[in-house]
């Protein structure tokens, strides 16, 4: 049974909205780009760059699909008016496909929604849209980001996908308002509409936790955002929660490993990356079937026909009391003597 992460990457499991939740400890960009690279060749790829510069992101995307860039990186707050963009990538001779670029400010996400949906419909094909970070959108306005994602999901076809990276530790627009408890939390709400939720964890951190657990001690962790072992360059652990079309939810913990020379990502068993983890079930669990309890005994619990007949013929005690209620049936013993006299007769009081 292949790990579910592998199936999702290969596209065997249809998942219209993949949300990758990462933290400072473990970045999700590697996984996100890998997911993007596995999209089919007839898809139009739309890269929404909010965190990385478009000309930096573009070479990282493998594949020859048609690409369009929505540039929210260069001018997010609209400080520079009327700037015309010509991407360096388009000038680059190695790129045969023309890449259309649209630049947006994040001040007004409703307008951005319209621009992006227009871009998608103009592509006129199946598409894969990649958000390299939703945090910039969420900082501007949470409900508008929702509407943006909702509008895109409305345009999704059978194989089109949304791949979005969400930074869990960056607060959104609502978090510090006094009435934040009355607003739905952004990361939960995103998880609510996502069909696949991948939470990334650093393998080194998990390994250290496991060792602490075995030793029975808890090492005092210094308060820090970045640790030495954060963001291992070649492997990470992913907790995947996938909602199938049938409604069933599959939850698994996988890990991935990126091999050095080729740069190919392979999905491996989490035990290989981290070591012994008793909390996480090993992939090939034997199924616990309720076996017939009478199967492997050294004595025979079954009855033959004669035995069954004999069993049914046994006279059960209290048979008569079953049929009638109340009357006391007394069958005298051999040792009983029946004396009708009142034993109190010979009392001389």
């Amino acid at each position: 049974m292949a790990p579910i992460l592998e199936k999702i990457m290969a596209g065997k499991e249809a998942s219209p909205f993949i949300l990758v939740k990462d933290t400072l400890e473990q970045s999700g960009q590697v996984l996100g780009l890998e997911l993007l690279s596995n999209s089919p060749s007839d898809h139009a790829i739309i890269l929404v760059c909010a965190e990385t510069a478009p000309d930096r992101l573009l070479p990282l995307v493998k594949g020859n699909q048609k690409k369009a860039i929505v540039d929210c990186y260069s001018n997010p707050l609209g400080w520079v008016k009327d700037i015309t963009f010509s991407t360096t990538a388009a000038r680059d001779a190695t790129f045969e496909n023309t890449t259309t670029t649209v630049s947006l400010t994040l001040r007004n996400i409703r307008k951005a929604t319209k621009v992006i949906t227009d871009l998608i419909t103009s592509q006129r094909s199946n598409f894969t849209i990649y958000f390299d970070s939703l945090s910039q959108f969420l900082i501007a306005s949470v409900p508008d980001t929702f509407n943006l994602l909702r509008s895109i999901t409305a345009l999704l076809t059978d194989t089109s996908r949304i791949i979005a990276i969400h930074h869990e530790d960056i607060p959104d627009a609502d978090s510090f308002l006094p009435d934040s408890s009355s607003k739905p939390q952004a990361s939960n709400s995103l998880a609510h509409i996502a069909t696949t939720l991948i939470t990334l964890k650093s393998s080194e951190a998990l390994r250290q936790d496991q060792e602490d657990f075995k030793r029975g001690t808890v090492t005092a962790k210094e308060f820090s955002y970045l640790t030495v072992h954060g963001n291992a360059w070649d492997s990470a652990v992913c907790e995947v929660e996938h909602k199938r079309k049938s409604g069933k939810v599959a939850r698994e913990t996988n890990a991935y490993h990126q091999s050095t020379p080729t740069g190919n990502l392979t999905v491996v068993n989490v035990w290989d990356v981290v070591g012994d983890m008793p909390d996480i079930d090993k992939m090939d669990l034997e199924e616990s079937q309720t076996a017939d309890p009478a199967a492997n005994l050294s004595f025979n619990l079954n009855l033959t026909e004669e035995q069954r007949k004999a069993k049914n013929d046994t006279v059960l005690p209290y048979l008569k009391t079953q049929e009638s209620t109340g009357a006391i049936y007394y069958e005298p013993d051999a040792a009983d003597d029946f004396d009708d006299d009142d034993p109190d007769d010979d009392l001389t009081i």
Binding site: G78, T105, K111, P143, S175, P184, Q185, N188, H192, Q322
Partner: protein, 586 residues
């Protein structure tokens, strides 16, 4: 000459269709479509109340309950108002379930068809097979008890609520005749049985009286008022100015609902035509009345946008006021797992209620929460369970009373005390209100809420040959069971020691070591004496009334003295102690 007049029965039978009166306080109740949920609410949802369903993560059981509610309304001919933002209301109505037994016209319908679900099917198959194989097998399978015949008179322990078989007459279309007299109100069953595998028939959909309100559309209309698509630079100012003058989404939805209630004549205080003479008060008019069922799907989800949290409070308050004086009821689902403070972020399975949700619960009359195992982050052990999730009841409707009617009437909420208590127990049972853990399961054909039993430790097939080292944790999980104290010891024949489980015992550690030594030391002959005297006390009967799944083995007591102490259950301590330590607290 008697001056008493005989009460004419016809004066009573004039309730609106699909309603009944509560046995406890005479309120008019309507069915939610799920018999076990009706039972929890005390017979049904009272007219004029709001039921809030807190949804589960990742799965859509909350919406399923909403669909049951709407479908039952369509069966009864009630008006159904569907409000939804996440999904289009048309999609919800089209995906409603069909009635069990009402197959499509081509397929045959057997008379008296049993529409019970899979488990009952299996049981009937087995019984049929047994009957065929030989009549001798019947005794072991049959309900008639030959050995433990004294128990046959005991009331069967109710772990769930069975729904009544569907009304056969007007529902089944055998010949496909399209013209049939409309069923009179008395013919419509209070709670119809539905089949989740079928969809609502086209005929029923046409004849259904539905009003669909798409809050997504309303939201766009509200937002379109702010002309900020073009304006980029100072849109903040423009939006705030525009926003103050716009009615918000919740207000719009409420206005539409009010309009529907007035137009349909459901409200008793807000009349469609104030100038028309008021209809003569009397029960005669009631029979023609219908109920207005309002179903709101995923209120306050991320796509519902409100400027302040007070909008929703006002909405619920106003809705409750509207409904109290109308023939209507509302079921609202809310994705409560999305709410919580920053600290509660990690406990998003709903176990810690956010203050916002808590406040919303106060505004509604009844509140339940669904927690599915599929959506919960932990809880791996319940994968083996037959249930699909837990069902928490936070609040039941109490109208004009101090105690909800479900304390007296509900089987599920109070089952422990009512089901099998002897005469001495009933007093304490009613007040202690043995709160059952409820779980729900969704079978092919129905949604059922039952008392939640944990499956036996390790599964049925596992053979126990050594004491469990982690029995301590299993004992604590068993404390979730019903409060009746019970001692369950499973001892295998032979020198193996058994593991001892007890709920609520404070001396678990010592008990286990004693049990182990009991197994090893105290039974040289490997003989196990079973002392159980049925009918000795109500307590014994209460113990035996427990669900059969949980009982692993007979209660055993090995007597070191060899004497028979009939009527007592006890377990002797280790070899050293001579005193009988009775570990069962009664």
């Amino acid at each position: 000459m008697s001056s008493f007049k005989k009460r004419v029965p016809s004066a009573q039978a004039s309730l609106p269709a699909g309603c009944r009166l509560s046995a406890y306080n005479g309120q008019v109740l309507i069915s939610t479509g799920v018999p076990s949920l009706d039972d929890i609410l005390g017979g049904g949802l009272p007219v004029g109340t709001i039921l809030l369903i807190q949804e589960d993560r990742q799965t859509s059981y909350g919406q399923l309950l909403l669909k049951y509610f709407l479908r039952q309304g369509i069966v009864a001919g009630d008006k159904c108002v569907v409000v939804s933002g996440d999904e289009s209301p048309e999609a919800i109505v089209r995906s409603l379930m069909g009635i069990a037994g009402e197959e499509s016209l081509e397929s045959q319908v057997q008379t008296g068809v049993d529409n019970r679900d899979d488990e009952d099917e299996e049981r009937r198959q087995r019984r049929k097979k047994a009957a065929v194989a030989g009549g001798d097998d019947e005794d072991s399978e049959q309900d008639r008890l030959t050995i433990a015949w004294r128990y046959s008179g005991l009331k069967k322990f109710e772990s769930g609520v069975e729904s009544r078989p569907p009304a056969i007459s007007s529902r089944v279309n055998k010949t496909g005749s399209t013209t049939e007299p409309a069923p009179t109100p008395s013919q419509i069953p209070f709670c119809e049985q539905f089949d989740l595998t079928t969809r609502i028939s086209a005929k029923a959909l046409e004849s259904a009286d539905t009003t669909l309100i798409d809050s997504g559309e309303l939201q766009k209309a509200v937002l379109a008022g702010d002309s900020d698509l073009e304006d980029d630079s100072d849109d903040d100012l423009a939006a705030s100015v525009a926003g103050r003058n716009q009615p918000d989404l919740y207000r719009n939805v409420l206005d539409k609902i009010r309009e529907t209630l007035i137009q349909g004549g459901f409200s008793t205080t807000l009349l469609k035509d104030p100038s028309a003479p008021a209809p003569a008060p009397g029960t005669a008019g009631l029979a023609e009345r219908h109920i207005c069922r309002i179903g709101i799907n995923s209120i306050a989800s991320p796509s519902w946008r409100s400027k302040t949290p007070h909008d929703l409070y006002k909405f619920l308050h106003a809705l409750r006021g509207l409904l109290r004086f109308s023939f209507g009821a509302a079921v609202i689902t809310i994705p409560a797992h999305l709410y919580g403070t920053i600290d509660q972020r990690h406990a998003t399975d709903g176990s810690t209620t956010s203050p916002y949700i808590h406040r919303l619960e106060q505004l509604c009359d009844a509140s339940v929460r669904i927690e599915s195992f599929a959506g919960a982050q932990t809880n791996a052990s319940s994968a083996a369970s037959a249930y699909h999730g837990l069902f928490h009841v936070h609040k039941v409707p109490v109208l004009n009373a101090l105690i909800p009617s479900s304390t007296k009437l509900s089987v599920l909420l109070d089952g422990a005390a009512k089901g099998s208590g002897g005469p001495g127990q009933s007093g304490s049972g009613g007040s202690s209100k043995g709160v059952n853990n409820l779980g729900f399961k969704v079978r092919r054909k129905r949604f059922a809420i039952e008392t939640f039993h944990l499956p036996p430790e390790g599964g049925v097939g596992q053979r126990r040959t050594s004491a469990e080292p982690s029995s301590g944790s299993s004992s604590s999980s068993l404390s979730e069971r019903k409060k009746s104290s019970s001692a369950k010891a499973s001892a295998n024949p032979g020198p193996a020691s058994g593991s001892f489980k007890k709920t609520g015992s404070s001396e678990e550690g010592s008990v286990q070591s004693r049990a182990r030594s009991l197994g090893v030391g105290n039974q040289p002959s490997g003989q196990v004496d079973v002392h159980s005297v049925p009918g000795a006390s109500g307590i014994a009967r209460k113990m035996m009334g427990l669900p059969p799944k949980g009982i692993q083995g007979a209660v055993t007591s090995g007597c070191s003295t060899g004497g028979s102490d009939a009527g007592h259950k006890h377990i002797h301590g280790g070899a050293g102690s001579g005193a009988n330590s009775s570990l069962l607290d009664f």
